[in-house]
C-alpha cells in the first residue's frame, strides 16, 4: 500500500492538484506502525530521487500532515524521537522550521545536536555552519566526517567564518576549521593556521601541522622546522611527514640532522623526505656516514625501493 502510493507520487504530473490518496491509506495513517513505515519509505524515496519526483514526495509528506507528527516529535522527551523528527524535516527540506531546529544545534544530547547541525548545513550549505560560532559542546570526529560529507554536495563559493572558528574556545571547532582550511585549500589563512601551532591543545597543533602541508608557502618548512625541537614526539613525526612533501634543498641539512634522532620512526621519515626532495637529497642520504650500517642500510634500501615503484 505504502510503496504503491509512493510510486504514484513519484510519477504524479498534475502540478496544482493533490496526489490522490485512498481512504484506506488515510485510515491506516491513524495507526502508528503504518505511519512510521510510510514515513520511513518516504524518507528513503526522497533521498534517492531528485527534481520533480523529490518535490512530489515532499508534497505527499505535507499532504498527509506527517510534518505535524515530526513537529510533535521535536517536543518529545526521548532523544531519539527528537533526533528522528529533525532528520525527517531536514530530509524533506522543510526550511520553514529552521528556527525550531536551529535551537537544537547546541543541545545537550549528542545525537539531537548532530542531527540539528546536519539539518542546518543541509538547508543553508556553508552558511549553515554559523552554528560553529556558538556551539559549546564538542564536535566529534564522526560528526566532523558527516559535516564534511554533507558539504561536499555544495559549491564552497569562498565561504566566510573560518578565521573566527580558528580562534574558537571550543577546541573541536578549531580542529574542524583546520580540516576545512586544508579541504578547501584556503591559502589566505596560512598565517592564522600558523597561529594555531602555538595552541596548547595537542590535537589542534597536530591538525595545524597537517593543514600547513596543504596550504604551504615558501616560508612554511622554515616555520615548521622552527617548531620541531620543542614539539611533542607525535608532532615532530607529523612535521617530518609534512616536510616529505614540501621541503626543498635548503632543508637538507635539517633532515640529515634528524637521521641521528633517537626515534627510529623519525629517522625513517627523514630519510624518506630526503629521498623525495631531489636527486641531491637522495645523494646526501646515501652519503650519510652510517649509510652502510644498520638501520640505515635497510632504511635506504626501503626508501629506494619506494622511489622505484
Amino acid at each position: 500500500m505504502a510503496n504503491l502510493l509512493i510510486r504514484k507520487a513519484i510519477f504524479f504530473e498534475e502540478i496544482e492538484d493533490d496526489i490522490p490518496v485512498t481512504l484506506r491509506v488515510q485510515q491506516s495513517l491513524k495507526q502508528t506502525p503504518f505511519r512510521k513505515f510510510l514515513t520511513n519509505e518516504l524518507l528513503k524515496a526522497k533521498k534517492n530521487v531528485s527534481g520533480s519526483a523529490a518535490e512530489n514526495i515532499k508534497q505527499l509528506y505535507l499532504q498527509l500532515n506527517l510534518n505535524q507528527y515530526a513537529l510533535a516529535g521535536l517536543k518529545n522527551r526521548r532523544w531519539y524521537l527528537k533526533a528522528q523528527a529533525i532528520q525527517e524535516l531536514s530530509v524533506m527540506g522543510l526550511k520553514e522550521y529552521l528556527t525550531k531546529i536551529y535551537r537544537f544545534t547546541n543541545n545537550a544530547n549528542e545525537l539531537v545536536r548532530m542531527e540539528a547541525q546536519i539539518a542546518i548545513v543541509n538547508f543553508y550549505g556553508f552558511e549553515g555552519l554559523r552554528f560553529l560560532d556558538v556551539v559549546s559542546y564538542p564536535i566529534t570526529e564522526w560528526q566532523q566526517i558527516k559535516l564534511l560529507q554533507e558539504l561536499l554536495r555544495i559549491s564552497p563559493d569562498n565561504f566566510k567564518g573560518i578565521e573566527k572558528w580558528l580562534k574558537s574556545p571550543n577546541k573541536t571547532v578549531v580542529v574542524f576549521a583546520l580540516k576545512l582550511v586544508r579541504g578547501y585549500h584556503r591559502f589566505e589563512l596560512h598565517d592564522s593556521v600558523v597561529g594555531c601551532l602555538a595552541d596548547a591543545d595537542k590535537q589542534v597543533k597536530l591538525q595545524a601541522i597537517i593543514s600547513l602541508g596543504e596550504i604551504y608557502t615558501a616560508e612554511t618548512s622554515r616555520l615548521l622546522i622552527g617548531q620541531f625541537l620543542s614539539a611533542h614526539p607525535k608532532h615532530q613525526l607529523a612535521i617530518i611527514k609534512v616536510l616529505q612533501n614540501i621541503a626543498t634543498d635548503d632543508d637538507i641539512p635539517f633532515l640529515l640532522q634528524q637521521l641521528d634522532h633517537e626515534n627510529v620512526e623519525i629517522k625513517l621519515f627523514a630519510a624518506r623526505a630526503l629521498a623525495n626532495i631531489s636527486a641531491k637529497g637522495l645523494e646526501s642520504l646515501m652519503n650519510h656516514k652510517q649509510a652502510l650500517q644498520y638501520p640505515f642500510i635497510e632504511i635506504i634500501a626501503q626508501v629506494k625501493n619506494e622511489l622505484a615503484i
Binding site: 532523544w79 531519539y80 533526533a83 528522528q84 532528520q87 545525537l111 548532530m114 542531527e115 564538542p138 564536535i139 566529534t140 570526529e141 564522526w142 566532523q144 566526517i145 558527516k146 564534511l148 560529507q149 573541536t172 580540516k179 627510529v264 620512526e265 625513517l268 638501520p295 635497510e298 632504511i299 634500501a301 626501503q302 629506494k304 625501493n305
Partner: protein, 475 residues
C-alpha cells in the same frame, strides 16, 4: 555446636552467599546490557556507514592476521580479508614459520615478490625472514610477512612493528568477517572527544553450519551438532549481555583475540602482546587499561553488539576441552600478572569492580562449583542433606540459568535476529534446557584441568584442529 554442624553451616552459607552475589550480578548484567544495546540500536539508526566508507578522514587501519599451517584455506581467507569495505587499510598476513606450503601458495596466488623493508623493532620479536608485496595493483593493500615461528603473540607483535596505520585490527585468519565489519569497528574511535578509545571489540558468532562461499557468509544457520549449538547460545549470552554491560560500565577486560581493534601507539607503549601467556588477548587489554589508569588519562574500551565476525567453534569434546583449559590458564595468568590492581582504588573501576569480578566469578566460579559439588556428595553420603529443600533449590538455580539463557535469546531475536526460522529459536531453547546437564559440567571440568595444568606449569597452547568453513551447506 558440633564441628560437623559448623563445617556444614560454613559451606552452606558461604556457597549460598556466593551464589546470591553471582545471581545478582547476572540480573544486573541482563538489565544493564539491555539498556546498552537499546541505546546503541537507537544511535545506530542515525548512522549511515556509507559516509565512512567514502570518507578520506577515516582512521587508518592495519589488519593483522597470523597464520600457522593454514595452507588449506589461506588463499580464500586472504581474499575474504581483501574484500572488506574500508578505504584506509592494509592487510598484513603473518606467516608464523608455517611448516606447510602457505607462503608458496600466497606467492603464487597473489603474484608476490620480496621487497626491501625496514622493520622497526619497537617490540622485540623473532626474526623476520622477508616482507612480500604484490606486483598486481589490485592487491596493493596486501603485505605478507614471513617470520620464524614464535607463536600467535609474537606474530602479532611483528605485525604491530610493520603496520603503518594508526590502528591495528587483530583477527584469526580463518574467521569470516562481515563486509562492513571494519566500518562499524572504526566508528567508536571517532565518537569520544574527551576519552581516548584504546580498543574496540565486536560480537563473535559461531559459523558452524552456516553457508560460506569464497570466504563470505552467505546464509546463517543454527549449527546442527549439539556442541557448536550450545556454544552459539553461550556466545550470544556472553557478547550480547556480558560484554555490552561491561562496556557500558567502561569496565570491559576482554576483547576476543578473534577480532578486535587497538590503538597502535598504546599497544607499542605497553610493549605489545605478551608471549608468556596463553591468554594474550585478555592480557593486552588489561595491560593497556592499567597503563591508561597509571597515566590518569581518560580512556574507553568500546564494544559494539553487531555480529561482525564468524568463527568455527570446536565440535568435539576433545578440542573444546583444550580450548577451555587454555582460556582458564590465560585468565589466571592475566590476573596473576596484574594482581596489584586487586581492590586497589588507584585503578578506579578497573581495580575495584572489573578485576575482582573476574577473580571471583570467572576464575573462582568453576573451583567453587567443583568444591561445592564434592562437598555436596560428602554431605549426601553422611546423610546431612535436606533433600526436599535441595530439590527446591536445584529447581530454582536451574530455572534461573534457563531463564537467563532465554533472556539472551530474546535479546538476539529483538535486535539482530540472525536465526530467522522458528525451529531455530525452539532449538536454542531446548539447548538452553540441556546445557546445565551436558555442556556446563564439561566446561567446569575443563577449567579445573586448566588450573591443575597451570600448577604443573604446563603452558602448551593445545592443538586446535578445525574442520574448515569453506564447504557450503546446501539445504
Amino acid at each position: 555446636m558440633s564441628w560437623q554442624t559448623f563445617v556444614f553451616d560454613f559451606f552452606t552459607y558461604a556457597i549460598l552467599a556466593y551464589s546470591v552475589t553471582l545471581m545478582s550480578c547476572y540480573i544486573f548484567i541482563g538489565i544493564y546490557s539491555s539498556g546498552a544495546v537499546n541505546n546503541y540500536l537507537h544511535k545506530n539508526s542515525f548512522t549511515d556507514y556509507r559516509i565512512l566508507a567514502g570518507s578520506t578522514q577515516t582512521p587508518s587501519m592495519s589488519i593483522l592476521a597470523p597464520a600457522y599451517n593454514e595452507g588449506a584455506n589461506i588463499i580464500e581467507n586472504v581474499r575474504s580479508l581483501l574484500s572488506i569495505y574500508y578505504n584506509n587499510m592494509e592487510v598484513i598476513i603473518l606467516n608464523d614459520g608455517s611448516k606447510d606450503d602457505s607462503l608458496e601458495k600466497l606467492i603464487a596466488a597473489y603474484d608476490l615478490y620480496k621487497i626491501d623493508f625496514f622493520v622497526n623493532q619497537q617490540i622485540h620479536t623473532k626474526k623476520v625472514r622477508g616482507v612480500y608485496k604484490s606486483r598486481n595493483h589490485v592487491y596493493r593493500k596486501l603485505i605478507v610477512v614471513d617470520k620464524e615461528n614464535g607463536g600467535k603473540a609474537d606474530a602479532l607483535n611483528v605485525g604491530v612493528n610493520i603496520a603503518k596505520n594508526d590502528y591495528i585490527v587483530c583477527i584469526d585468519v580463518d574467521c569470516v568477517l562481515e563486509q562492513d565489519a571494519l566500518l562499524k569497528l572504526a566508528k567508536p574511535f571517532l565518537e569520544y572527544p574527551n576519552h581516548r578509545v584504546i580498543a574496540t571489540g565486536g560480537v563473535i558468532r559461531i559459523a558452524n553450519g552456516c553457508e560460506i562461499e569464497n570466504g563470505r557468509l552467505i546464509k546463517v544457520h543454527l549449527p546442527e551438532q549439539f556442541l557448536p549449538r550450545v556454544q552459539t547460545l553461550e556466545y550470544i549470552r556472553a557478547f550480547l549481555l556480558g560484554r555490552m554491560a561491561w562496556s557500558r560500565l567502561n569496565g570491559l577486560l576482554l576483547i576476543s583475540g578473534a577480532f578486535g581493534a587497538f590503538d597502535k601507539e598504546i599497544v607499542i607503549k605497553c610493549g605489545g602482546y605478551n608471549h608468556k601467556t596463553v591468554g594474550e588477548d585478555m592480557e593486552l587489554v588489561v595491560r593497556m587499561r592499567r597503563y591508561m589508569e597509571e597515566l590518569k588519562q581518560p580512556y574507553k574500551v568500546a564494544f559494539i553488539p553487531d555480529p561482525l565476525c564468524w568463527t568455527e567453534a570446536p565440535a568435539s569434546f576433545k578440542i573444546l576441552g583444550r580450548q577451555r583449559n587454555r582460556w582458564t590458564r590465560g585468565t589466571i595468568e592475566t590476573l596473576r600478572f596484574h594482581k596489584i590492581m586487586f581492590f586497589n582504588p588507584s585503578y578506579g573501576l578497573l581495580g575495584m569492580i572489573s578485576y575482582p569480578y573476574w577473580f571471583f566469578f570467572e576464575f573462582l566460579a568453576p573451583i567453587v562449583e567443583f568444591v561445592g559439588m564434592s562437598v555436596f556428595i560428602i554431605f549426601g553420603i553422611f546423610g546431612l542433606i535436606n533433600w526436599s529443600f535441595f530439590f527446591i533449590l536445584l529447581a530454582f538455580v536451574f530455572c534461573f540459568g534457563f531463564l537467563y539463557s532465554i533472556f539472551a535469546v530474546l535479546m538476539e531475536v529483538l535486535t539482530y535476529h540472525q536465526y530467522k526460522q522458528q525451529k531455530d529459536i525452539a532449538n536454542l531453547m531446548l539447548t538452553a534446557f540441556l546445557e546445565p546437564f551436558i555442556f556446563h559440567p564439561f566446561v567446569v571440568w575443563s577449567a579445573i584441568k586448566g588450573n591443575i595444568d597451570l600448577l604443573r606449569k604446563k603452558n602448551a597452547w593445545g592443538e586446535m584442529t578445525r574442520q574448515g568453513l569453506s564447504s557450503p551447506k546446501k539445504k
